[in-house]
Subunit: 268 residues, 2 copies
């Protein structure tokens, strides 16, 4: 049976609301996902929330939501029924989704990555925009990448915005966060081709030979890859820039490259 | 010489601030671009602002800004020097760029599009996210598309967010806004292959034959293309979705397709 919460000053409301703050998410090791679609996606990946909050509505929650609520409750989740206004306070949005879930953050240590589990890995350096991180996770899912390795300082992949942009891929893709030096040391312990995109090369991205496992390295939104990061790459390729601009959006560049790498393997 | 504005209640401050509202932008036929990078990009495309506002700073504006200010002033632009706080009010941001420009909106009638001017055109239906519109414009620039045709109801390509995400491509790409029926009527008056991506086809995007001019049609973020829009396409292609998700971010899908269309032409 759900607990009913009718007070804005309830401690659980405050705690869930607090998860919109990166520091709180980190300290608690939890994150928020909003909306039935993503909660259902998580369940299909075998991940259930530890807290579910939903707004009272005529006829009760959506049948799929009821199913997930029952499963989560059977595993000991805290189930909360509340008012739309209080749900709105928790989610920090004027028009919140009718349901939200609180999840445990998975282990983001590089040691949790098994490079042999996929031929393709996405690696991104100092991404600032959580929407880009979520979009890259979504692309990783579509291209069956093993996961996303986030290098140096970056936006939080467990922020509400990143989780939303991932469209559920936060639950299908491994996420690791690591400093550049540690990443390079780990990479060189085993097989793996590090591929970067650059303007400083004549290798066209369509003609290059991509090896497996391939680690596709994407640079920061405004600076691109630092010179020493480029120097570490086993392969630098150039994507045609036919107009005035000299770069693409980071998530876009990552996707064009990931699809091309997959395409090159299919043609062999 | 710049006008000095020191009052928050100044009419020009209010008018510029008003341009953050879509209705005002439409009524005035103007839009805002923030930051020296994009203002310089516009100038390089031969477009100067009709108003420039910048914050007083020690040593005066950046030399490049001074150059553009002088050029714009010579063409009759209103040049405003003000305080960082008032600039912040105009731009609606806590940390505004040091300079902003007000531009006339270009003609967005379909009749202003010359389809023979490029072999590739991007077409997007009911996009809701101005960031996606700007990102698609940026991709259009990189792939030398002629421009972006926005179908049905959509976010405003002249919003601050879209202009920012375009990284200047709002000044290099033609933009047209039109209803679906009018677009189809116009399209069929001349040469042009309408290409859509769909899950309901067996044609792989790598094997398809793309003709010129190619009109690449991208669906809305959450619904994809309506069935009747798919039915109108001359070619439907499928992009591989190797994971759990059945779609990509709209701007990402557009970019992967646009690059593949360009790649297919290069290989012939």
């Amino acid at each position: 049976m759900p607990r009913q919460i009718t007070s804005f000053s309830n401690d659980t409301v405050k705690r869930i609301r607090g998860l919109r703050d990166k520091k709180v998410r980190k300290a608690e090791g939890m994150f928020l996902a909003e909306g039935l679609r993503i909660i259902a996606e998580a369940r299909d990946c075998g991940v259930l929330p530890i807290v579910i909050a939903y707004a009272t509505q005529p006829g009760g929650p959506h049948p799929l939501a009821q199913e997930i609520i029952a499963e989560a409750e059977a595993r000991g989740a805290d189930i909360i029924e509340t008012t739309p206004d209080i749900l709105s306070k928790m989610s920090g949005k004027d028009n919140p989704q009718a349901i939200l879930g609180v999840y445990r953050q998975p282990d983001t240590a590089l040691s949790a990555i098994d490079r042999s589990s996929s031929p393709l890995w996405l690696v991104a350096q100092s991404l600032r925009d959580p929407g880009n991180i979520g979009t890259i996770l979504r692309t990783g899912d579509a291209t069956a990448a093993g996961g996303l390795i986030l290098i140096d300082d970056h936006a939080d992949p467990f922020s509400v915005e990143a989780v939303r942009a991932s469209m559920g891929a936060i639950f299908t893709q491994k996420v690791a966060t690591v400093r550049w030096d540690e990443f390079v040391a780990w990479l060189r312990e085993g097989p793996g081709q590090l591929v970067g995109t650059s303007l400083n090369t004549t290798s066209d991205y369509l003609d290059a030979r991509y090896e497996q496992p391939c680690f596709l390295l994407v640079g920061n939104e405004s600076q691109g890859l630092p010179a020493e990061y480029e120097a570490e790459c086993d392969l630098l390729v150039k994507m045609p820039m036919l107009g005035r601009a000299d770069s693409l959006n980071a998530a876009v560049a990552c996707a064009v490259m990931a699809y091309q790498i997959r395409a090159s393997w299919r043609n062999n």
